[in-house]
Symmetry: C2
Subunit: 471 residues, 2 copies
């Protein structure tokens, strides 16, 4: 009859038939796969649970034949909703929870090949005894398919680069008639044989093809480290202090993470049991400085050198105070901030980045503008100062929710992004593009870049069947 | 009239008209641009010398309108002929020798944006006083457009990654009707806004579009270092020694470069004035170990720790001898090898790579096979053991040139590449794909990868007008 219902039914049958029994969920069984940590919510034709790349390829062939959109999904830890289907009920979720195998760990090569559903923590547990790690340091524990699809950054990017820098190979299934499997997994560090196609799947947010496995380069575990928390007179002082630590430690500077004094006080007020250092400090912000190396036996040298650096910064009035800190305490404070804000306010979160020198002027100017324009809202800054990354939380007190309704929130977000762009920054530093922010992609990315991106995406995925976003 | 001659004449006029006076060379003036270090040789419709991205875009518009192929060309230091036009005389060379500007150096951000024609050495000179460097360590001095187009690797890849790992941004001109300029130069370390299009130009060998400028991430200059040369009992010992140095120094291991005993003796015999260490050693090969850090003041600690590592390796009979060496001497020996071979033989060069553990078995098995099959030819190995990279030179004595004619050379090359692939290796580790090796690309790269590469390339360059190779 050709009705939409018949079409959906025949697609449903075809996708179910492509998979073994129990690997195709419909109805109520789909529920856990239709929402995520950010409360994005959708409907699905069904959820596929392939167990192998062969099953995945068979699924893709059926989906292409029936023009069903496929949404690769891992642990649903993404923050832009890219892994959650829309509300049509016509899209198919492809969960990688059954593809978690460690295919090959090569200690001599410092590399590992794992299926897309393996967790970051599982990879690290597997290689730890060999003195190795996958040095992507995140608050969440995504599967590697999501990690690579999002090109996650995290707190140690200043030393180790983004996920892209740690990927040696990718296996991906293309949404063509054959469900072609691109095996680009060779764990070679030098391999310039034509176009490096794997780059097209890294950071694509699930577009272009379905990542089914990844080869990573591993790093030696840190054997020496020193961590301190410093109180800084201003954001400019945070920049000059970054320069001083880099001059003293070079590539050994492994994290340089900041939190504003306002944010620290918000956590202290909300959670009195979390002891915060520098409670009555005049500092503008606090920075966790982590220095680390895979070379063992440097601990006391790093500590002594750090002390010299801090003393010089205190003499310059850049640093007001310092404690030699366990980083866990800092992460606890930082991770508590969203919860503290949510106690009595609606948080609007921003994930932005700048060149490192542009970060401090942006923070200073924007805080002034914000305080003048929105004196009754909360404004909290933290993030990855060492790589120019910054997270902002604007807190709308619950009492002001009507005054700051959805339209005004959108205006506020646009105003803030325009300030970011004027400072040469990015409006999505780490979290990628999904339904949560694709409108800003359309608005802010130059048309020529959008056109070229669309051309590339349609070349690989001509029926627009993979991922939530058409670039 | 529509003859080929008229077509060429009208294309010539159009390209000349797109450029200012003096920026379009024809006839004899083209000669320097038609050959390279490897003696590839071609003809050209003309040579364009754009001075700006606006001129480059105008040139591309004219070339697209007249369907003229454009070959981006830098310093002609590539080894596969990708920058040299074919013999048709219908292609246009685009030389970047007039686009050498440093557009922006940002010390705080550790980044620099330069035009494609700037030399690697010029970039390094510009940033040296600020204590920074672009840590790509090559024997040649390419311009940055060539560096990025080739995704050069070099000797310090084990610490700093390939060129791709050090690129923050690219500006490229697309071969579309408008000569669209993609400005992807933002020097941001975190920026996940849609597809990372710049990756499509890195390592593409000049295909997909014309790289006109690049933003690089810079590294702190090495402030501490220690270098030693060790004599190893076998290639397996070279692998276990690599593991020992990495366990002791982690990310501070900055180079681990090898040369075979046969190769060392060949240099010593050809150039008696170049003193070679370990002249009468029983070693299978020699490795230059370089340990370095941007953290100052570690020299004596690195030396002491290196001595401990060497002593343990001597106890294990892995290392036979060691000298604390200046690296210049090693590079001099290594760089003299091709000249030594060329004194009385025709050299066939190979640029291959493996996972690190696969390198030693390949070297051992292949040397045995080669000695049995071709006892009268020379066989020399050297390269980047620490990242799995290897260069081979097979020397055909001039007296045997007739016996080893072109067909037999091709057979030999194919046999060797097939051994490389059986060991999971790459037949072009660093040098990319050009007319010199595209036949092996066609033969050895899986069809599904070639098809996908062609689809992407044609999406960006629908008339196949940029670069020598259609993937």
């Amino acid at each position: 009859m050709g009705t939409a219902f018949d079409t959906a039914r025949s697609a449903n049958h075809a996708l179910a038939a492509a998979l073994p029994p129990g690997a195709w969920l419909t109805g109520e069984a789909c529920a856990p796969y239709l929402t995520d940590v950010m409360h994005y919510q959708g409907n699905a034709l069904g959820v596929a649970l392939p167990d192998s790349v062969a099953q995945l390829s068979a699924l893709v062939r059926a989906a292409v034949a029936h023009r069903v959109t496929l949404l690769p999904q891992g642990e649903r830890t993404g923050l832009t909703g890219a892994a959650i289907p829309d509300r049509s009920g016509a899209q198919c979720v492809v969960s990688f929870t059954r593809m978690k195998r460690i295919r090959h760990f090569d200690r001599v090569n410092r590399s590992i090949t794992v299926e897309a559903g393996a967790l970051l923590s599982e990879v690290n547990r597997h290689v730890e005894a060999a003195g190795l790690c996958l040095p992507i340091d995140l608050g969440s524990d995504p599967c590697v398919g999501g990690l690579v699809g999002a090109n996650a950054g995290g707190s140690r990017l200043v030393k180790y680069g983004s996920t892209r820098h740690n990927v040696l190979g990718v296996e991906a299934v293309l949404a063509d008639r054959d469900g072609s499997v691109l095996d680009l997994l060779a764990a070679l560090r030098k391999n310039n044989v034509g176009l490096d196609l794997k780059q097209l799947f890294i950071g694509a947010g699930g577009a272009n093809g379905l990542i089914s496995a990844v080869s990573f380069s591993l790093a030696p575990i840190e054997r020496s480290s020193h961590t301190l928390l410093i109180a800084l007179a201003s954001y400019e002082a945070a920049t000059s202090s970054l320069m001083a630590f880099e001059a003293a430690f070079g590539e050994l500077l492994s994290a340089y993470e900041f939190i504003s004094a306002t944010a620290l006080r918000r956590v202290a007020a909300a959670f009195p049991h979390i002891t915060t250092p520098f409670a009555d400090s005049d500092a503008a912000c606090f920075v966790l400085v982590e220095i680390a190396s895979g070379m063992p036996g440097l601990d006391s040298l790093l500590e002594a050198r750090a002390l010299e650096v801090v003393e010089a910064l205190v003499d310059n009035h850049a640093v007001l105070d310092a404690v030699f800190a366990q980083s866990e305490r800092f992460w606890r404070i930082r991770d508590s901030l969203p919860l503290a804000v949510a106690q009595d306010a609606l948080p609007l979160s921003f994930d932005i980045s700048f060149t490192r020198g542009a970060l401090a002027p942006f923070l200073v100017e924007t805080a002034q503008w914000f305080a003048a324009q929105h004196p009754s809202l909360g404004y909290y800054e933290f993030g990855h100062f060492g790589d120019g990354g910054c997270h902002l939380i604007i807190a709308i007190p619950l009492a002001l929710i009507e005054q700051y309704g959805p339209m005004r929130q959108i205006v506020l977000r646009r105003e803030l992004y325009q300030r970011v762009l004027r400072h040469g920054g990015s409006f999505s530093a780490e979290h990628g593009i999904g339904p949560g922010n694709v409108a800003y992609y359309r608005k802010f990315v130059p048309p020529v870049v959008q056109v070229a991106s669309g051309i590339v995406q349609r070349a690989l995925d001509p029926h627009a069947l993979v991922g939530r976003v058409q670039y």
